[in-house]
């Protein structure tokens, strides 16, 4: 039973290195800086490159370029930096770039509180770029999960060729925790699916579009293998609406199909992404829901409530985007009351309300009452607050 005493930043860096990350570019920002420092120190040891960029825009721009040059890339920042990433997040979606982005949330709005914890970026990361196309977001709630979900983020980025966010906060990054070494989960990370060389062409250096169509999707949710610069194909990467060859087009059929593809390759495969820890108790009519740091307080509250003989179920949401609807349906089954705890004014609660209402309409049953437990002053939500809110509502 060997343990270590470790913070989330170290676990994320180790998860990235073990997942094969070999490129990092980012700009210093509290509270994400420890990840930059780890990567700057460690990446050269594995022959990788770490750059402190001139700003956040250059940081994510270099990462996207590096992926087309053959790298596995990661960047990390906090809310203000995500604002600056915004346009390039769209570029990574459009160019179908596998990329891992760590958002170490801090209190907003604007520069907010640099060393103050918050969960205020949940809707921002989902809708933070023009056009409204999907991304994937995972939220670890322990230091051990910082490791395993970073690996998972790299895996999903390759599977879906899209930006994958790991959403954490200051508490998760900088607080120390004790971890049993054997509990780190070695989540498998797939290799990049690289477009194989063309066969049967006269001169493979030319007429590349006859042998490899980088943006041809059949069926529409299929993810094409990636052709990197310097490989067997001539490849065009473009941020503008394009045809199957990567040439600019305004043809509504082709553009519509491309945009449909960007959505459906993720939205039709939520079963490969959905992650959470559901702790159901028979006979419980109350369900606690939380994610990230807040889930720790929830689990503490849960064990206290059960020790006192109460029946309560709890769900830790690990994959925030796309919304894990199947998991939520399972968790909501038979539940009359839901308490959703977040360090914001209910950003994820609205997603749960939508799922619960759809459920109610479909099953012709009354929807559960859904309450928020919310803090936005930078203080953590305490386990006692779950219990107080719960007891306050018990007749």
């Amino acid at each position: 039973m060997t343990r270590e005493y470790i913070d989330g930043a170290t676990a994320i860096a180790r998860g990235a290195l073990d997942a094969g990350c070999n490129f990092y570019a980012g700009y210093p920002i509290t509270p994400a800086t420890p990840i930059l420092l780890h990567m700057a120190r460690e990446l050269p040891k594995v022959g990788g490159i770490a750059v402190e960029a001139e700003d956040e825009i250059a940081g994510i721009g270099m990462c996207i370029g590096s992926v087309m040059g053959g790298a596995r890339a990661m960047t990390a920042t906090s809310g203000p930096g995500i604002s600056l990433y915004s346009e390039n997040i769209g570029l990574a979606i459009m160019g179908e770039t596998p990329l891992v982005i760590i958002d170490v949330q801090r209190m907003g709005p604007a520069t907010g509180g640099a060393t103050t914890s918050a969960q205020g970026d949940i809707q921002f990361i989902r809708w933070g770029t023009s056009g409204g196309y999907p991304i994937i977001a995972l939220a670890p709630s322990s230091v051990a999960e910082c490791y395993s979900l970073t690996r998972k983020a790299f895996d999903l980025a390759e599977r879906f060729r899209c930006p994958v966010f790991l959403v954490v906060d200051k508490e998760m990054i900088s607080s120390l925790a004790t971890v049993e070494l054997m509990t780190y989960e070695e989540v498998p990370v797939r290799e990049r699916n690289i477009a194989p060389p063309a066969r049967g062409t006269r001169d493979p250096r030319w007429r590349p579009e006859e042998t490899y169509l980088p943006y041809s999707f059949e069926p529409v949710d299929a993810v094409q293998p990636l052709a990197q610069f310097g490989g067997p194909h001539i490849v065009r990467f473009t941020t503008s609406s394009h045809d199957e060859h990567g040439f600019l087009t305004k043809d509504a059929t082709k553009v519509g199909r491309l945009n449909r593809h960007l959505d459906s390759k993720i939205s039709q495969h939520n079963d490969e992404i959905e992650m959470g820890r559901l702790d159901r108790q028979d006979g419980a009519d109350t369900l606690f829901i939380a994610y990230g740091t807040t889930a720790r307080a929830m689990e503490e509250a849960l064990s206290t409530a059960r020790a006192e003989g109460h029946r309560v179920s709890a769900l830790v949401v690990q994959s925030l985007w796309p919304v894990p609807e199947r998991l939520l349906n399972e968790a909501l089954r038979g539940v009359r009351r839901v308490i959703v705890a977040e360090q914001n004014l209910g950003q994820y609660r609205r997603e749960i309300e939508l799922v619960a209402l759809r459920n109610a309409v479909r099953n012709e049953t009354p929807p559960p009452s859904i309450e928020g437990l919310n803090r936005i002053g930078g203080e953590q939500i305490m386990p006692e607050e779950f219990l107080a809110q719960w007891e306050g509502g018990v007749a």
Binding site: R3, Y5, R14, G65, G69, T115, T178, R205, F229, M382
Partner: protein
Amino acid sequence: MTTPLKPIESYRNERKYPFCPGCGHGIILDKLNEALKRLQFDPHKTVIVSDIGCVGLSDQYFATNAFHGLHGRSVTYATGIKLANPELNVIVLMGDGGVGIGGHHVLNAARRNIGITVLVFNNMNFGMTGGEHSVTTPNGAHTATTPQGNPEQPLDIAATVTNNGASYVWRGSAFDKTLPDHLVEAIQTDGFALLDIWELCTAYFVPNNDFNKRLLEGMLSQVKSGSGVLHRAERPEYAQALYQFAAKQAGKPVLPHKPLPQKFAAAVDRKMHVVVAGAAGGKVRSAARLIGVAGVLSGLWATQRDDYPTTVKSGHSVSEVILSPGEIRFTGIERPDVLILLAPEAVRKVAHYLPQMTADAWFFVTPEFAHLETSAKKVILDAKAAGVRWPKLSAGFMAIAAMLLHTGLLPMEAFVEAVKTTQRPAIAEKNLATLTDVEKLVALLPKDNA
């Protein structure tokens, strides 16, 4: 088996340029094609990165790899591509608009000396969006946004990169017959190369200013920093420098685990919350970390949560440590079992705990806080009375050591082992040397509340 291939006759594809009649873009692109033909690069190893504006269309007319990205950010993508695969030839095509919005990146790419070639298609205004003025519009020139004449000074991008680390810089006109020679030279340069290529925008700048080729060439001959090859320098290229650095680091252990196997036993049978409140810059966090390490070495679970302002060596620094015989989920603290208060900066942060603390809790303070009221057992660490030194940088360490010694919360051997395993030898030695003074301090304390 490789078959020898015939020389490549053109790097253009069959697509026709979409530019306005008389536009300089096609002229420059033809000259780029001429340079590539002379270089005979493998098109698979060549990437044209295009910016935005009319020039952003350009990559579509070449049969090389292409990357078409956001406005002004072309240099950042090019940098990432080159860093990931230094054997690629990376050529950036950007306009004066891109130099404006992305000037920061151009400047930093030059400073780093990343091995890319940047062609600035400088037609002194925004062609695609309607002839607005750009950062290179000459003073006094008429554009859609400067109908009274441009009051701003133009940016001399060639001089700027010359003075900030570029390896090769050329300025001239799109009509210059030697342009292909200079493109060849620029592309063959190891480090950062930039060509500031002046040209005509026949849609806007030409009609708005009665501008023409003769006037353009006249302006070029008068520019203060000159024209032609402005700069040649040899210094290490950035990607090569980074890979050379990485080669020296190869084989070193990568973020190794630091296991803390149990060697000691602690008499902690419930969750214990310890708060250490001091001044930032007083090594509070690193000293508090020793409690957790000593706890884990004693078979316990530990967590530590820190609170501090954005400043580095001023303001408060509060560390909250939990020790527990079982796994800890939540790292926050409602009410401490032990509170150590060392600095006035931290009083505000922890004063609310004092009324909540009960008679079985401990409150360790320096004499200046002896007046603070609480039901907890108050222990005054009086360095003066004990005749020992109490340096600011050691106060956190000494107070924690005194607390452990007085309360017996964790074995002192575990604490000493924590110092030796986590701190650098010189710091560990210095810290351990204070333990004699700590013993003197603790010897003065009344035994009845231990």
